[in-house]
Amino acid sequence: MGSKFVFSFLIILSLFINIYAQDDFEFKPGATIGGYGELHYNYVKPENTEATKSLDFHRFVLFYGYNWTEKWSLKAEVELEHNFVQGGQGELELEQAYINYHHADWFGFQIGVVLPSVGLINEYHEPPLFLSVERPDYHNKIIPTTWFGNGASVYGFYNGFSYKATIMEGLNADKFSASGAIRSGRQKGFKSNAEDFLYNVRVDYLDIPGLKVGGSFTYNNANGETVDNAITLIEGHAQYNSDNIISTFELGNISYDKGNVEQSFGYYFDLGYNIGGLLNSDMQIIPFFRWTQYNTAASSPLGLSFEEQYEVKKWMIGLSLKPISSVVFKVDYAVQTSGANDAETNLFNFGAGYMF
């Protein structure tokens, strides 16, 4: 009788424990969706040439995540660029698709289609997160955003420091160019050549409110059918978003082992201020200024006259308006000088974007 009582009591007790666990903190498996998109109007007027005008739904992206447990999950992102895919125009890309194991704050890993951690925008590129209509030129010419590929990463956060290290498919050295640096060398996860992996590591410091400061190092002995060319990309970045100030600075350098280009170099900075409060508005109204300078052939064995062809300087003023934090309307005007003759191009852009 006594033992039955004890048995029953313990069974009931264990059920109470269960109720506590389930009601309080138990993790529930499930799916989540997210995404972003952006429409752009671009007016480009090169010196002594007719202006071009285009209207482009540049990106439509859907994020899908499934959480099996609080440690094991799937993250995937599919992107349609330029609204339509036909004859080499437009792109349909699987930009992310990885299994994520989150062991603890200080350690997790991902395997699948992953993003190397290079600069501020490669991993965080939703339209409300940067000020201009188009992504900064630096993130096209120096850092080939969005840079993704087949591979694996480890990551973590400890004592104010965040880190991520990635090993993934390398670049195609045949497609490097003086005008586009390494951008066309991305394999984008398409039956990737895995002869030589790309190694990337990034460290950021985050323990000062509003400030993120860090840098990354990337190395790949890039293969090609006609040439191999080792590259090293070193970049630093800082962003301060607080007290209505929005400021960004990024600087990067690519060194090449051989070829017509020895070095690609660039930087830009943004300075914006949210005047919404001054105007008694709930919206964020952010006028901003940007200065950009880059040269995809900053150093070449062919000499100064070759290098000068690829020198670009650009100033931009603009306005970014967010009625809510996830929706943005943007307008910007820029003057770009490029090449040995400092040819001038006027650019005007308008855009609308969202994220959820």
Partner: protein
């Protein structure tokens, strides 16, 4: 012996390690912030439907569930603080956090109990959480102005900020009835 084994098995199945860990982490964080000499009283609090709806509209964020978890904290048998534990969604995973209030509903401290994703871990920063100290239900909680943004943590920052505002509105309404 068989019965003991069955009991152990039932207990193991019924008390998942993750849940135990969060409860322990919660109580550990409370003691870290308020000292080891405190005593606590745990309350599973069902949010009245009318209050829930009103606060969700004002904070522009839904509650994670119909309940929040409250610790009444006593120092030398004197009621000193109220702690609320809740979840908000980050990009795809829930973030478990707590807010500690004084007896008048002013935030004494806040902290993240469990963060489950790569991106946005900056919200765990003690310095970032300190920005909420001293705020109450009348305060402004605007990211980028009153609360610093964190580069790479936009969704988490907005979620946690709204979550803390939401709990502060709740505390103001229920503190006298607890």
């Amino acid at each position: 012996m068989k019965k003991i084994l069955i009991i152990i098995l039932l207990a193991a199945v019924n008390f998942p390690a993750a849940s135990a860990s969060i409860k322990e982490d919660t109580e550990s964080l409370i003691r870290e912030k308020l000292g080891d000499s405190i005593t606590t009283e745990f309350i599973k609090y069902e949010i009245p439907k009318d209050i829930k709806k009103q606060i969700e509209t004002e904070s522009r964020q839904k509650f994670y569930g119909d309940f929040v978890y409250i610790y009444k904290v006593f120092q030398n048998n004197k009621f000193q603080n109220l702690v609320i534990v809740d979840n908000v969604y980050g990009k795809s995973m829930p973030i478990t956090f707590l807010v500690i209030y004084d007896t008048s509903g002013v935030i004494y401290s806040s902290g993240i109990i469990k963060y489950r994703e790569q991106y946005g871990g900056g919200v765990k920063s003690g310095e970032w959480n300190k920005q909420f100290n001293g705020k109450d239900h009348k305060s402004v909680y605007e990211v980028g102005k009153d609360i610093s943004a964190i580069s790479g943590a936009t969704i988490s920052v907005n979620s946690i900020t709204r979550g803390i505002k939401k709990l502060t509105l709740l505390v103001n309404k229920i503190k006298d009835s607890l």
